[in-house]
């Protein structure tokens, strides 16, 4: 119940002030956006034109260049949210709230894309759009968790309060995701023995790895750019709420 007067590191202090955070990170957005654009251009050129078809899968391997990065992001974004949730709960860092809130819809979008490309990859490879295999099923469950978190954010009027509650739920989800993954794997091997395609088959040749890596970084940098932009928007949105409340209360402090 006393004020926290312990001195903190200055960069941490500066980052924890919303306005300072925006001022510090805004110059990063444009270079990041440019870098993302270049990476996407290079990745697409490699992925669609320069790289040869794969030996077994043929041209469908090109779906992998958009599927693997989105699938990676679907987990990376959750990790970002979980770390931010820790930031909210343990250090009460104000920007952690904002980061959590900005990441949730992005994560949901990337997870949906991973499922979409996965099923388009599955049709030529397995002959079906949807297969209840371990990976696809747990990604679907992850999508539901993301959407639940987005819904939970929207259900609160007071966003400060929402942040801590959502943080608790995000961490509960983070603890549960490995369990879900394990249980789903257990379940899918039980019901349909090894008929599915395994990605860890033959080692991939360099001409496939190059576009994969470039696209991987392109998507990751895209996420970082969007995340920063969305965080800035969220900081402004909170500022708007504060101003509107003040205006409603009729004082011009």
């Amino acid at each position: 119940m006393t004020i926290d007067t312990t001195p903190k590191m200055t960069w941490w202090n500066r980052l924890s002030h919303p306005g300072q955070f925006v001022a510090l990170t805004r110059p990063l957005v444009l270079p990041l956006a440019l870098l993302t654009g270049v990476l996407f251009a290079v990745g697409l050129w490699y992925g669609l034109f320069s790289s040869p078809p794969e030996k077994y899968m043929g041209d469908t391997v090109r779906i992998m260049y958009v599927h693997v990065p989105t699938a990676w992001l679907s987990q990376f974004v959750y990790a970002t949210m979980a770390v931010s949730a820790l930031g909210t709960l343990v250090w009460r860092h104000p920007m952690a709230d904002v980061s959590m809130k900005a990441a949730a819809p992005l994560g949901a979008a990337f997870t949906a894309m991973a499922l979409f490309t996965g099923s388009l990859w599955g049709r030529p490879t397995w002959g079906t759009f949807w297969e209840w295999d371990g990976r696809m099923t747990s990604t679907l469950v992850l999508l539901f968790i993301y959407l639940g978190i987005v819904a939970l954010w929207r259900a609160f009027d007071d966003q400060l309060r929402a942040a801590r509650v959502v943080a608790v739920f995000t961490l509960v989800g983070a603890v549960n995701i490995p369990i879900i993954k394990f249980s789903v794997d257990w379940w899918s091997t039980l019901h349909q023995p090894a008929s599915v395609f395994r990605a860890d088959g033959p080692t991939m040749p360099g001409e496939i790895l190059t576009p994969l890596f470039v696209m991987f970084f392109a998507f990751t940098f895209l996420f970082i750019t969007l995340q920063l932009a969305a965080m800035h928007t969220e900081v402004r949105r909170r500022r708007i709420t504060t101003l509107e409340r003040r205006a409603a209360r009729g004082d011009a402090r």
């Binding site: 043929g58 041209d59 894309m113 388009l120 990859w121 049709r123 030529p124 500022r239 708007i240 101003l243």
Partner: protein, 54 residues
Amino acid sequence: MIALGAHAEFIIAAYVGVFAGLAALIGWTVFAARQTKRRLEELGDGQRANSSAQ
């Protein structure tokens, strides 16, 4: 454009779908950013948009 083999439609659909999704995501982010900026200016806080609170 190179020939995409027997499953061209799936590959095209995947790329079109993903990039439409990305475009929507970027568009939404930019739109939200513009909207909040405009609202802040309406509230007479345009210059202080970067340095909120006291």
